[in-house]
C-alpha cells in the first residue's frame, strides 16, 4: 500500500528534515512559470492545452491485478475526455495516494485489523496534458482483496488550474460527501459479505467436524488424515474468529463515527435530500449492531452457505468486484447522483462560479430581507451554520483528554495517531528553520521576478520543479493554515480592501517540468479523523489553552496579536517564504506551504528561524469570519492565529484563492464553509423541487413574453408585489402553469419550495388557502363544479385579482405608481429570459433595500417624543414615502407590504410553526382590464 510508508515518515520527527533537503530541487532561477501570463493575453487560451472539452469526474482504481485503471467518468460520454489519456492520468493520480491505509496484520496482532482510513485530498496538475485535478482518494473494503482494501480515487479534472485551486474547499467538501456515501454503502456491503463468508465458514466447519470425526473413527486419532482434518478444522476456526472480529469492527464503525461530533453523514445538503427518508432507516439499521443482526437474519434465507476451500485462489485468478458490487446499490446510486451534482455545480467558467459565490456570500449577510426575493437556501444554511457552530463549540470545549475516551477501533492505529499530534506541531520550528533559511536565500530574485507581473500572476503557490516530475503545489494542510480568509463570508469583505493589499502581494513562481505532474495540494493524510476532535480543539481555538497547544502555536498566536502593523514591513521578506516548494516526494508535502505569517517572517528574518504555521483555523468561529476583512487591523485581529503569507497576496484575494485557505482540518468544518458557498449557488435541487434561481431564470422567458403580450402586466405584477393574491384562470393546464411560473418570479417571499404559489387548482379555494397562496393557477371548469369555483372567485373577489387568460382580461385594482414601470416595461428591449430575470431581480433588490430602510427607520413608525401622537408619526411616514422616496400611493402599498413581511420575518423568523400567517388586505375597487 502506498500510504503506509508515508505515514511512518510523517510520524518520525527526523522525517521532516528530509522533506526540505530535497535533492531534486532545482534552483529557483531555473524554474519557468507554467503559464506565462502576458498582461493582455486571452485568458481562455490556456484551455487549449487540454485534450478534453469540459470538466469531468474520473473514478479510478488502483487494481491489485492491473494497477491503476480508470473506471468511469461523469458525464459518461466519450467525447468529454476526447483524446485525453485516461489510463495515463489514472496512473498519475493513483500514484499520489497519501492515505495511511495500513491494513493487514499489524505486528503483535494475530488477526487482521481494519483501519478506518480517512480520505486524502490532493490537487495535482499535469501541465503537459493541460489537466488539473482535484483528487480524492478513498479506500473501500473488499473481503477478497489484498489486505481487504481496494484503493479508489475520484478526481475532478479541469483544464482550468485556478478553478481547482480556488474551488478546492468546495470540491473537497462535495467529494467528501460523495465519498462518505460510497464508503457507507461499502461498509454495508462489506458487512454483508462478511456475514455470508462467516456462514460459509461455519458450514465448512460443521462439515469438517463431521469428516474429522469420521476419520478418527475409521483411521484412529493419530492418523495423518485425521491430523490433517484437525488442522484444517483449526484453520477454519481461526478464520471464523478473524472474520467475526472483522465484522465486529466494521459494524461498530458507524456508531463510533456518530459519537464523533465532527461526523457528518453524507446526506445533508446533498441532492439526495428527498431520498433521505428511505435512506435513513437503512443507515440506522446498519448502525446499531443488534439491528444489523436482524438484518443478517433477514438476509439469511437468501444465502446458501458454501463449502470454503482451505486455500483460497490466488489473487490473480479471481475476478475482482466492480465498484458497483463493492457498494450497496442504493448508496452507489446516491454517490453517482452526488458526483453528477458536483459535475453540474462546478461546470462553467471559474469567474462565473466565483461571482455567484460572492453574490451568495453577500446575500447571506442580508438576513433581514433576502427571504423576500432570493432563494431561501440561506435559511437552511443558517441552520446548518448554527448546527456547525454548536458542533464547533462542542469540539472546542472538549478537552483533548476527553476525546481520547472515544473508543478506538484499533488501538494500534489510534495510539499512533495520538502520537502524531505533538509530532506534527512541535517539529515545526525545526523544519521551518530550514525552510525559512531556504526561503530567505531565494527572496531577492523572487521579488524582482515577480514584480513584473504582479497583477496577473495569481499563483499562490510557488512550485518547484523536480526531476521526478511531480510537482506538489500545495497541500490540503497548507490550505488549512490559511483558514481565516476563506469563508465565503469573508470573501465579500475582501473586495473593498483589495487596493490596500496589492502591494503586499507575495510573489511566487512555478517551475515547469517536462514530466509535469504537479501535486497542487494534498490533504494531510496522517491525522486520522478519529483524532480530529482533539486536534482541532487544540488548534482551532482562538484562545488556545496553553497546555493543549504547542509552544509554536502559542508564540505565533501572541505574535500575531501584537504585530498587526508590522505586516507591511515584513511582507517583502516573508514573501519569499512562499516560493519554495520543497518537496516532490509523495507523502511529504505536508510541510509544503506551511504558510508563515508576516510576523513570523519578520521573526525569521531576524532570527533566521522560520516557524511553521500551525494549523490554525478560524473556522471555528464563524462570527470571526463573518467580520473578517483584509483590512490590516481587522485582519490581524480576526486571525490571531497565524496567517500564511499568501493570504496577503492580493491576487490570491482577487482571484479568491484565499477561499482555499479555509480548509478542512475536520471534514465537518470544511463541509460547513465549503458547502455553504457551493451549494448555495449551484445545487439545482433536482429532487426536493425547491425553486431556485435557475428555475426562475427559466421562468424569465415566459415572464418576458407575458409583459410584452399584455398591456396590463404592470397591474398584475402590482398585485403580486402588494400581496394581493393573483388568480390565473384558464382552461388549459399547460398555459396556466406556464404563466403561473412566469409570474412567480415577482412573488415576494415565495418560499423555498414555492409555497406561496399554487400552480394548478381545480377545486374552489377557501379563505385559509388565500392566506398562503399569493399566486394561484385555477382551472376553469364548465361543469357545475365550476359554478362553485366562480362562487369562491366572486366571494373573495376583494382579496384577489383574476387574470383570465382565455379572455385575456385582468380584474384588479388600478396601478398608478412608477415603481413597476421599470420592472415591467411593455416595450422592454431585453431579449433573453434570464437577462430579464436578472433585471427584475435587481429591481427587486432595490425594492428590498428601500423596504429595509423604511422598516428600520425608527422615527417613521414610533414617536420621537412622548407627546407626539400617532398622527404625527403617520404623517412623517407618509412624508417619507411620498417625498423622500417619491412613491405614489400604490407604490407605498408595495412598500408597506414588503415592510410587513420584513417585520414579521424579523420578529418570528422563518419558521412556519408557532406563528399564524397574517393576511392583510385593503378595500379598493377593482377594474376589468382588457388588452
Amino acid at each position: 500500500m502506498i500510504g503506509s510508508p508515508d505515514v511512518v515518515a510523517f510520524t518520525k520527527e527526523d522525517g521532516f528534515a528530509e522533506v526540505y533537503k530535497d535533492p531534486w530541487m532545482i534552483p529557483e532561477e531555473f524554474s519557468v512559470p507554467l503559464f506565462p501570463h502576458s498582461g493582455n493575453g486571452n485568458p481562455w487560451t490556456k484551455t487549449s492545452y487540454a485534450k478534453f472539452t469540459k470538466d469531468f469526474i474520473l473514478i479510478s482504481e488502483f487494481s491489485e491485478q492491473v494497477g491503476p485503471q480508470p473506471l468511469l467518468t461523469i458525464p459518461d460520454e466519450s467525447k468529454v475526455c476526447g483524446t485525453f489519456d485516461l489510463n495515463y492520468f489514472s496512473l498519475r493520480i493513483m500514484s499520489v495516494d497519501y492515505q495511511a491505509s495500513c491494513v493487514g496484520h499489524p505486528p503483535g496482532c494475530g488477526y487482521p485489523k481494519l483501519n478506518f482510513v480517512e480520505d486524502s485530498k490532493v490537487v495535482l496538475g499535469d501541465s503537459k496534458e493541460g489537466a488539473f485535478a482535484y483528487v480524492h482518494h478513498l479506500t473501500l473494503y473488499d473481503l477478497e482483496a489484498r489486505g481487504f482494501v481496494r484503493p479508489f480515487c475520484m478526481a475532478y479534472i479541469s483544464a482550468d488550474e485556478r478553478k481547482i485551486m480556488q474551488q478546492f474547499i468546495e470540491l473537497s467538501s462535495e467529494f467528501s460527501k460523495a465519498s462518505e456515501c460510497l464508503k457507507t454503502g461499502n461498509r454495508k456491503a462489506f458487512a454483508n459479505e462478511l456475514e455470508n463468508k462467516l456462514k460459509d465458514l461455519e458450514y465448512t466447519r460443521s462439515v469438517l467436524h463431521k469428516e474429522t470425526e469420521l476419520q478418527k473413527m475409521s483411521n484412529g486419532c493419530f492418523s495423518t488424515q485425521a491430523i490433517e482434518k484437525a488442522n484444517e478444522l483449526a484453520n477454519v476456526e481461526k478464520s471464523i474468529y478473524e472474520h467475526k472480529d472483522l465484522l465486529k469492527q466494521i459494524t461498530s464503525y458507524p456508531n463510533r463515527k456518530i459519537n464523533d461530533p465532527e461526523f457528518l453523514p453524507y446526506e445533508s445538503g446533498s441532492p439526495v435530500d428527498s431520498a433521505d427518508l428511505g435512506q435513513e432507516p437503512t443507515f440506522r439499521e446498519f448502525n446499531s449492531e443488534d439491528q444489523s443482526e436482524d438484518h443478517s437474519i433477514k438476509q439469511r434465507p437468501s444465502y446458501t452457505p458454501q463449502l470454503v476451500k482451505a486455500k483460497s485462489a490466488k489473487c490473480f485468478d479471481k475476478r475482482l468486484k466492480t465498484l458497483e458490487e463493492l457498494c450497496d446499490l442504493y448508496f452507489f446510486h446516491q454517490t453517482m447522483d452526488q458526483l453528477r451534482l458536483i459535475e453540474k455545480t462546478f461546470r462553467g467558467d471559474l469567474c462565473y462560479i466565483y461571482t455567484s459565490q460572492i453574490d451568495q456570500a453577500l446575500l447571506k449577510k442580508q438576513k433581514i430581507t433576502n427571504f423576500l426575493f432570493e432563494d431561501s437556501e440561506w435559511e437552511e444554511e443558517e441552520a446548518e451554520q448554527q448546527f456547525c457552530d454548536g458542533k464547533q463549540t462542542m469540539t472546542n470545549n472538549l478537552p483533548p483528554a476527553s476525546i481520547l475516551s472515544v473508543e478506538p477501533l484499533s488501538l494500534d492505529s489510534y495510539t499512533s495517531c495520538v502520537e502524531t499530534v505533538p509530532i506534527k506541531l512541535e517539529p515545526e520550528t525545526n523544519e521551518d528553520r530550514i525552510y525559512g533559511r531556504e526561503l530567505t536565500e531565494f527572496s531577492p530574485c523572487d521579488l524582482l521576478q515577480d514584480n513584473t507581473d504582479e497583477g496577473i500572476d495569481a499563483e499562490m503557490k510557488g512550485s518547484l520543479s523536480s526531476g521526478e516530475s511531480i510537482e506538489v503545489l500545495g497541500t490540503e494542510k497548507s490550505f488549512k493554515t490559511q483558514g481565516p480568509t476563506v469563508n465565503s463570508n469573508s470573501v465579500a469583505n475582501l473586495q473593498p480592501s483589495y487596493p490596500e493589499v496589492v502591494r503586499k502581494k507575495i510573489f511566487t513562481r512555478r517551475t515547469y517540468s517536462e514530466d509535469s505532474i504537479e501535486i497542487l495540494s494534498t490533504c494531510e493524510s496522517i491525522i486520522p479523523e478519529d483524532l480530529r476532535p482533539s486536534y482541532p480543539s487544540a488548534i482551532y481555538e482562538e484562545e488556545l489553552p496553553v497546555e493543549s497547544c504547542t509552544d509554536a502555536v502559542h508564540s505565533q498566536t501572541s505574535m500575531l496579536n501584537q504585530a498587526p502593523g508590522m505586516l507591511d514591513e515584513c511582507v517583502d521578506e516573508s514573501g519569499s517564504n512562499l516560493q519554495v516548494e520543497s518537496t516532490c516526494c509523495i507523502g511529504k508535502e505536508d510541510h509544503i506551504y506551511k504558510g508563515s505569517s508576516p510576523e513570523l517572517a519578520q521573526e525569521c528574518c531576524a532570527n533566521g528561524v522560520m516557524k511553521q504555521e500551525p494549523q490554525s483555523d478560524d473556522q471555528g468561529d464563524p462570527t470571526l469570519q463573518a467580520d473578517f476583512s483584509l483590512d490590516q487591523a481587522t485582519f490581524s485581529e480576526a486571525s490571531p492565529a497565524g496567517l500564511p503569507l499568501y493570504e496577503l497576496n492580493p491576487n490570491c484575494l482577487s482571484d479568491d484563492v484565499s477561499r482555499m485557505n479555509c480548509d478542512d482540518l475536520s471534514d465537518s468544518t470544511s463541509f460547513m464553509s465549503a458547502s455553504t458557498s457551493s451549494d448555495r449557488t449551484y445545487s439545482p435541487f433536482l429532487y426536493g423541487n425547491p425553486i431556485t434561481v435557475k428555475h426562475k431564470k427559466k421562468f424569465g422567458q415566459s415572464a418576458l413574453r407575458f409583459i410584452r403580450q399584455y398591456p396590463f402586466a404592470q397591474q398584475a405584477v402590482f398585485c403580486l408585489l402588494s400581496g394581493r393574491t393573483l388568480v390565473v384562470l384558464g382552461a388549459d393546464e399547460g398555459t396556466v402553469r406556464k404563466l403561473v411560473n412566469a409570474l412567480s418570479i415577482f412573488v415576494p417571499k415565495i418560499g423555498k419550495h414555492g409555497e406561496a404559489v399554487k400552480q394548478w387548482l381545480s377545486s374552489p379555494f377557501q379563505l385559509t388557502e388565500l392566506l398562503n397562496w399569493k399566486l394561484i393557477g385555477l382551472h376553469r371548469v364548465a361543469s357545475p363544479a365550476g359554478s362553485s369555483m366562480v362562487h369562491s372567485l366572486s366571494r373573495y373577489s376583494r382579496y384577489i385579482s383574476v387574470l383570465d387568460i382565455d379572455h385575456k382580461t385582468l380584474r384588479c385594482p388600478p396601478y398608478k405608481g412608477s415603481l413597476i414601470g421599470k420592472m415591467v416595461d411593455h416595450h422592454t428591449q431585453i431579449k433573453r429570459g434570464s437577462t430579464y430575470f436578472m433585471h427584475v431581480q435587481s429591481m427587486q433588490t432595490q425594492l428590498c433595500s428601500k423596504a429595509f430602510l423604511y422598516t428600520f427607520c425608527h422615527h417613521l413608525h414610533l414617536p420621537i417624543s412622548a407627546d407626539e401622537d400617532q398622527d404625527a408619526v403617520a404623517s412623517r411616514r407618509t412624508n417619507f414615502l411620498h417625498h423622500q422616496l417619491r412613491y405614489g400611493e400604490d407604490d407605498c402599498r408595495i412598500m408597506q407590504f414588503l415592510s410587513e413581511l420584513i417585520k414579521h420575518h424579523y420578529l418570528h423568523g422563518s419558521s412556519k410553526g408557532g406563528t399564524l400567517p397574517v393576511f392583510s388586505f385593503n378595500y379598493t375597487t377593482s377594474f376589468l382590464h382588457k388588452p
Binding site: 438576513k367 433581514i368 377557501q766 379563505l767 385559509t768 392566506l771 369562491s792 366571494r795 373573495y796 373577489s797 376583494r798 422598516t855 428600520f856 425608527h858 413608525h861 414610533l862 400617532q870 408597506q896 415592510s899 410587513e900 417585520k903 414579521h904 424579523y906 420578529l907 406563528t915 399564524l916 400567517p917 397574517v918 393576511f919 392583510s920 388586505f921 385593503n922 378595500y923 379598493t924 375597487t925 377593482s926
Partner: protein, 451 residues
C-alpha cells in the same frame, strides 16, 4: 327566496337590494384590513365567550372548548370532556382575595355541566346525568351563583352544589334567562316569560326558588330575551313581536310587531302576510346598549329606542339571509352577522331627506300597544315617526364560507367571528397591527443590540 320574489315584483325592492348588497370594494370606514384564521374546531362553532382583555373561548358542536389568545391567535388551551355538542357557555368570574378568577361554565347535550379553568385547561367541576341538558346558563355575580336552564331551572353554587331547582316544565324548556332586580329571574319558556324569585337564607343551601309570575303577552315562542337596563328588559318572538318590559313590576312597556312588508294595496297585503315565511319576521337576536335595542328580524335590522319608545332606524334587507347575532357599538356603530357568511358594519346616520323613509316603499310596521288593537291604527304610525334615521352600511367582512354564528368584539384587538365553516376569524385593524409590529420590532432590535 323571499328576496328573489320581491326583486321580481318590486323595482324598488331590487334597488334596495343592490344598495345593500354591493357596498363596493371601496370601504374607507372599514378598518379591518387584516385577519387571522384560527383553526381547531371540527364542527360548527357556535359560541364565543370573552374571558379577559385578550382571551376568549370558543365552543361548538364538536364538544370542544378552545381557549385562544386573540392577540396572537395562539391556541392556549383545549378543554376536552364533553362528548356532545356544547349548548351553552358562560364565563364565571369571582374574586377571591385580591385575585380575580375566571372560569368557564359549559353545558352540553350529553347532559353534563362542567366548570373549567382556562388557565390550566382542567375540568374543575362537573355534573353529569342531569335530567335534561341545559340550554342556557346565567351567572349571578352578585349572589355568586349560577343557574342552568333546561327543562327545569337549577340553581348552583360555585362548587357545583345544586341549591334548588324548579319542577319539570314543558318539553320546550327554558331557552333564555335574564337577571332582574330583587333576586328575580326572567326565563323564556316557549311563548311565556316566567318570573322566578330566589329567596336567600342565611346559608346558601337554604336558597329556594319560586315562580312569581307568568307573562303571556307573546303570541309565539320567544327567541330572545335581554336586559336593557335596570328598568327594562326586552323579549322578541318568532313572529316579530318585540316587547319591552318593566323590570320591577314586569308590565309590558311597549309592544312592537315588526313585519317586513312592502306597501301594496290593502287587499294584497293580507295575501303577502300569509305567504310570508315565518323566519322572515322572527326575532333571532336582541342586543342593546342600554338605550336602544337592536333586533335581528329575519335578515333585517330594527333599532328601537326604549326610552323614546320608537323606532330609530331599520334595514329590512340588511343581509342576504337570517341575521344571527348583532351588537351595538358606541357612536352609532352596529355590527351584525348572518347566515350568509358575512359580517356587516353599520353606521347610524341622519337621513338626508326626511321624506324618503317616510315614503317607505318597502317597509311596513305595525305598532301594537296591545295585541288586541286594530292593525289599521298602527299602519298610520310609521310616517309619523320623528327623527327616523338610517343604517348605512360602512363595511362588510367576508371570509367565512358558512353562517357566521356569533362574534365577540375586543375593544383593542378587533373582532372575533365564529362560523359554521368550523373556523374562527380574528379581524384586526391592519394599521394598528402594523404599528404594534413596528414597536416590537424596535424592541427586539434593542434587545439584540442592533441587527
Amino acid at each position: 327566496m323571499f328576496r328573489w320574489i320581491l326583486g321580481g315584483r318590486e323595482a324598488q325592492g331590487a334597488v334596495e337590494k343592490n344598495t345593500v348588497l354591493f357596498i363596493g370594494e371601496e370601504q374607507p370606514k372599514n378598518s379591518y384590513t387584516e385577519l387571522q384564521v384560527l383553526k381547531g374546531h371540527f364542527d360548527i362553532v357556535r359560541f364565543l365567550v370573552q374571558i379577559d382583555d385578550f382571551r376568549f373561548a370558543s365552543a361548538g358542536d364538536d364538544g370542544l372548548v378552545l381557549v385562544w389568545n386573540a392577540e396572537t391567535g395562539e391556541r392556549l388551551q383545549e378543554l376536552r370532556g364533553h362528548s356532545q355538542q356544547i349548548t351553552a357557555m358562560a364565563a364565571y368570574g369571582w374574586t377571591a382575595g385580591d385575585l380575580d378568577h375566571v372560569a368557564l361554565v359549559t353545558a352540553s347535550s350529553d347532559r353534563t355541566l362542567s366548570l373549567w379553568d382556562p388557565e390550566t385547561g382542567n375540568r374543575v367541576q362537573t355534573v353529569s346525568d342531569l335530567q335534561s341538558s341545559a340550554k342556557c346558563l346565567l351567572v349571578l355575580y352578585r349572589l355568586d351563583l349560577w343557574i342552568s336552564g333546561g327543562n327545569e331551572l337549577c340553581v348552583w353554587d360555585r362548587d357545583f352544589h345544586l341549591l334548588c331547582k324548579t319542577d319539570h316544565h314543558s318539553d320546550a324548556g327554558i331557552t333564555a334567562m335574564v337577571e332582574l332586580p330583587k333576586n328575580c329571574i326572567a326565563a323564556a319558556m316557549d311563548k311565556e316569560i316566567v318570573i322566578y324569585r330566589l329567596s336567600e337564607s342565611s346559608s346558601k343551601s337554604g336558597t329556594s326558588i319560586s315562580e312569581v309570575r307568568r307573562l303571556t303577552e307573546h303570541q309565539d315562542s320567544i327567541r330572545a330575551l335581554i336586559t336593557v337596563n335596570d328598568q327594562a328588559f326586552a323579549s322578541g318572538s318568532h313572529v316579530g313581536e318585540l316587547i319591552v318590559w318593566d323590570s320591577l313590576d314586569w308590565s309590558a312597556q311597549a309592544y312592537e310587531r315588526i313585519l317586513w312588508d312592502e306597501p301594496r294595496p290593502e287587499g294584497q297585503a293580507e295575501i303577502r302576510m300569509s305567504s310570508q315565511k315565518q323566519s322572515e319576521m322572527s326575532i333571532q337576536h336582541l342586543a342593546t346598549d342600554g338605550e336602544c335595542v337592536v333586533a335581528a328580524v329575519g335578515s333585517g335590522l330594527y333599532l328601537y329606542d326604549v326610552s323614546a319608545r320608537g323606532v330609530v332606524a331599520y334595514r329590512r334587507a340588511a343581509h342576504d339571509s337570517n341575521i344571527l347575532h348583532t351588537m351595538l357599538l358606541p357612536e352609532g356603530q352596529l355590527l351584525s352577522c348572518s347566515e350568509d357568511g358575512s359580517v356587516r358594519m353599520w353606521e347610524l346616520q341622519d337621513l338626508p331627506l326626511p321624506a324618503e323613509p317616510a315614503s317607505s316603499g318597502f317597509f311596513g310596521m305595525w305598532t301594537f300597544g296591545r295585541s288586541s288593537k286594530q292593525a289599521s291604527q298602527q299602519v298610520k304610525k310609521v310616517p309619523e315617526v320623528p327623527g327616523l334615521r338610517t343604517l348605512e352600511l360602512t363595511g362588510d367582512l367576508i371570509g367565512h364560507s358558512g353562517a357566521v354564528q356569533m362574534f365577540v368584539h375586543f375593544v383593542d384587538l378587533g373582532l372575533v367571528t365564529c362560523s359554521a365553516d368550523q373556523l374562527i376569524i380574528v379581524w384586526k385593524n391592519g394599521e394598528r397591527q402594523s404599528r404594534f409590529r413596528s414597536l416590537s420590532l424596535f424592541q427586539k432590535l434593542e434587545e439584540n443590540q442592533g441587527l
